[in-house]
Amino acid sequence: MTATRRVDVLVVGAGPAGLAAAARLAVAGAGRVEVLEREASPGGVPRHCAHGGFGTWTRPLTGPRYARLLTEAAERTGATVRTRTTALDWATEGPVLHAVGPGGPEIIEARAVVLATGARERPRPARLVPGTRPAGVYTTGELQQSVHLFGQRIGSRAVVVGAEDVSYAAVGTLRTAGTEVVALVTEHPRARTGRARAEAARLLHGIPLLTGTTVAELLGHGRLSGVRVRHRDGRTAVLPCDTVVFTGDFVPDHELARRGGLTLDPGTRGPAVGGSLHTSRPGVLAAGNVLHAVEPAGTAAREGARAAGAVLDLLAGAPWPDPGVPVTVEAPLRWIAPNRVTPGARPTRHVLRTGTALTRPVLLVHQDGRLLHRERRGPGTVPPHRPLALTGHWHDRVDPEGGEVRVSTA
């Protein structure tokens, strides 16, 4: 027989979003707050990001340190973090989950569930990179865990696919592991990271950056022996190496969301949510990178806290909001989150991504051909790998009976 337990709030995932939500809920006296984490220790992806770039401007931290602080904060406030416990699936109705851990299968009934399951990098098969199937093929996530959590040996020569922040983090990890980085390869015309970082890799460490280049084939039986790359002009070359790291190209880890029948947003591929992060399933909220891969940990933590606010309202008797009006984007914009607007709710900021660099963009918000809002972003250029924000001042102008709201650039 599967045991059934009751809690007030169940948070799925002990990454920055989940831990921040749990801490705020427990502090506010939400009752029994429990976080389920399938890994052996809490903290999420920062656990294995053994580099800086976490915390705040005034208090910069490494990933592991940040993970520890968030965990301590959640536990200090009285939330329970249960590791090695996996949320598997939903009961037929409501915020009720099946889970399994060392104690066996159980059903956990909650008054509210916060989904904070994060994101992952798309691995080589999902990117349809042809060739053989040798060992030595990594994503950054696996590479970092191997080196920083388990001290495992990596190969001796690596090619890194991608040239964004996470790709340079992979370079750092490879260097820690004593692996020579043969090249960074990106299909884009330039690196998608800060200039200083790109220059340092190139000049200081002598790592070439191959732009306009894709990985056309993996070679080798048993162990990787090289990658065939193709330049946009059609030229190909083989880079001998025994390791390749596919970086970036994150997607929300949305399995539970889909299993629960939550409406997904086609742009983000995460659950569709309104400003207070309610999903389409009553009692279920979502926060962090499950909503939009991949934003910094701080953004995820803030969303966790925001979802906690909505949960507190819910526990206090607030009704579950109507689904609201969908918000979509037009190219070159790629996605927007939150992607629903509930007229009358507190206006919240949106995060967007663009597919191509935008110089001094103007964001336009329309509903049924009617202009609701026009917003000019500051000077300079917004590149595709940086968040672009849109205020929510226009939310009360949305017609709740009208069609979808469309965000475009001019």
């Binding site: 027989m1 599967t2 399938r38 890994e39 052996a40 090695r84 996996t86 598997l88 399994v100 851990g101 060392p102 104690g103 066996g104 299968p105 992952r120 990098e121 798309r122 691995p123 080589r124 098969p125 999902a126 349809l128 042809p130 060739g131 053989t132 199937r133 060992a135 990594y138 994503t139 996530g141 696996e142 865990q145 191997s146 959590l149 388990f150 001290g151 495992q152 040996r153 056309a216 084939e217 993996l218 070679l219 039986h221 997607v251 880890d253 399995e255 889909r258």
Partner: protein
């Protein structure tokens, strides 16, 4: 129990040596293991069983409805289907009896269906039925538009190829067969007994079975036979995410043409959806790579069959090589004068036919002078449950109450527990690589391909079965 992977080979002569530990070689070893008086060696070039064609196929348990009536293949597939079905039920090899639909997309294909139904009849495959478009779409609501009808073949099923090969090998090894891995046969001489020159020294045997798959013709030539030439026929396949599984209920087959069986869409017992295979004849017996053209072509065909499939993520891409020959049938030949049986040309049905091939080969060996002695059925094996349609360890409260390790999931996408990984490492035919571990447990086979679990699984693997061999 003897499994070796290095060092010298035993100097005593075996009664029978089987070259090639694919699904066919392992099935033969298991069959011979039913005769306790025989000493049997199973010799494999690679570091695990089932590393050749047997690990990379479409994993269908064929009824043989469309085989050429009267061929050896037709008979052994038919017989193997029954035998393996029964064996699977005993050993927990996952089988799902989903049935197949041969979908006709034009008038010509529609016209071919009654002929195929008649052929199925001749192949002793009962219960086929012609479906009109209404019933077809009722059964497969997500099928792409434009299908005109289908032939329903209720018996076609899906199976786990890895568990099958491993079950045979496990049972054989437990019953006393010696499995020698990392042992490539370089040469073979017969003079009143066989002497095999291998990468690990000489192996002697009174009888020899050649089940070397893609290399069966090479070994055959060493013994002076020119019966056939293997032309590897590559099949590239795409495995779609588990979230795609609800999109399809049957094995969706194309109506066969002169070019082969064509591209199918099928559920897998592991809960995914498979699209493939391509069919390309190649000179290279190592060409197990996928190609950009191959994958693009598959996606084009898949889009027509099941449009929604293409919106799902791809979990894995692989390619297998079928051991095709210039002949239309299996090349199973006894050479009594040499106490030698060749099992060649086991193309795209060897998984299904494996147990029947094994029984047939044992008969040929006996005819050629092998005295198998009395029969004692080997102890039954129960394999770890890898099938999605059956309770997996993490779903079993009873198991976890006894051993909490089955409740601790390490590979999250595939829901593989630490207990299962520990068991696999301690098994009678243990994995020697992470790939081998994957085939035994599904660990790292899922959508994240190790993003979450790769390092943790590697850690468990490197520590070994007792958890102590730290790196």
């Amino acid at each position: 129990m003897t499994v070796t992977a290095d060092g010298p080979l035993p100097s005593t002569a075996y009664d029978v040596a089987i070259v090639g530990a694919g699904v066919v070689g392992c099935a033969i070893a298991r069959e011979l293991a039913r005769h306790p008086r025989l000493s049997v060696a199973l010799v494999e070039a690679q570091d695990d069983v089932g590393q050749g064609t047997s690990k990379a196929n479409t994993a269908i348990l064929h009824t043989g409805f469309d085989a050429t009536p009267g061929t050896l293949e037709a008979r052994l597939v038919r017989e193997g289907y029954e035998r393996l079905g029964a064996y699977a039920a005993e050993t927990d090899i996952p089988v799902e009896r989903v049935g197949a639909l041969l979908v006709a997309w034009d008038e010509e294909q529609l016209a071919a269906l009654p002929r195929l139904a008649a052929k199925a009849e001749r192949n002793a495959c009962p219960g086929t039925a012609l479906l009109g478009p209404g019933e077809l779409y009722a059964r497969e609501p997500r099928l792409g538009p434009g299908a005109l009808g289908a032939l329903h073949v209720p018996g076609e099923s899906v199976i786990c190829p890895w568990t099958t090969t491993l079950a045979y090998a496990t049972q054989a090894v437990r019953a006393g067969v010696d499995l020698h891995l990392n042992t490539a046969v370089r040469d073979a001489r017969w003079a009143d007994g066989h002497r095999l020159t291998t990468t690990r020294g000489t192996l002697r045997a009174r009888h020899l079975v050649n089940a070397a798959g893609l290399h069966a013709d090479t070994l055959d030539r060493r013994l002076g036979h020119q019966d056939f030439t293997v032309t590897p026929r590559r099949g590239q396949l795409l495995v779609f995410d588990k979230l795609a599984r609800p999109l399809v209920r049957h094995i969706l087959l194309p109506v066969p043409t002169a070019l082969g069986k064509g591209v199918l869409v099928t559920p897998t017992v592991h809960g995914n959806v498979l699209l493939g295979p391509t069919a390309e004849n190649l000179p290279d017996r190592q060409a197990t790579g996928s190609t950009a053209d191959g994958l693009a072509g598959l996606r084009d065909q898949g889009r027509r069959i099941l449009p929604a499939l293409l919106d799902e993520e791809v979990t894995a891409v692989y390619a297998g090589l079928r051991a095709a020959t210039e002949h239309e049938d299996y090349r199973i030949t006894a050479h009594p004068g040499q106490a030698y049986v060749t099992v060649g040309g086991i193309r795209s049905t060897g998984l299904t036919a494996s147990l029947a091939i094994a029984a047939h080969v044992t008969g040929l060996l006996t005819d050629a002078g092998l005295d198998p002695g009395p029969v004692r059925e080997p102890d039954a094996v129960v394999m770890p449950q890898l099938g999605e349609a059956f309770p997996r360890p993490y779903q079993r409260a009873d198991l976890i109450a006894e051993d909490p390790e089955y409740g601790i999931l390490v590979c999250h996408c595939e829901r593989v527990s630490r207990g299962e990984i520990r068991d696999a490492l301690a098994g009678p035919v243990p994995p020697r690589s992470l790939e081998g571990l994957r085939r035994r447990t599904r660990a790292r086979a899922g959508r994240c391909q190790g993003f979450y679990c790769g390092a943790a699984v590697r850690e468990l693997f490197e520590r070994g079965p007792d958890g102590r061999n730290g790196p």
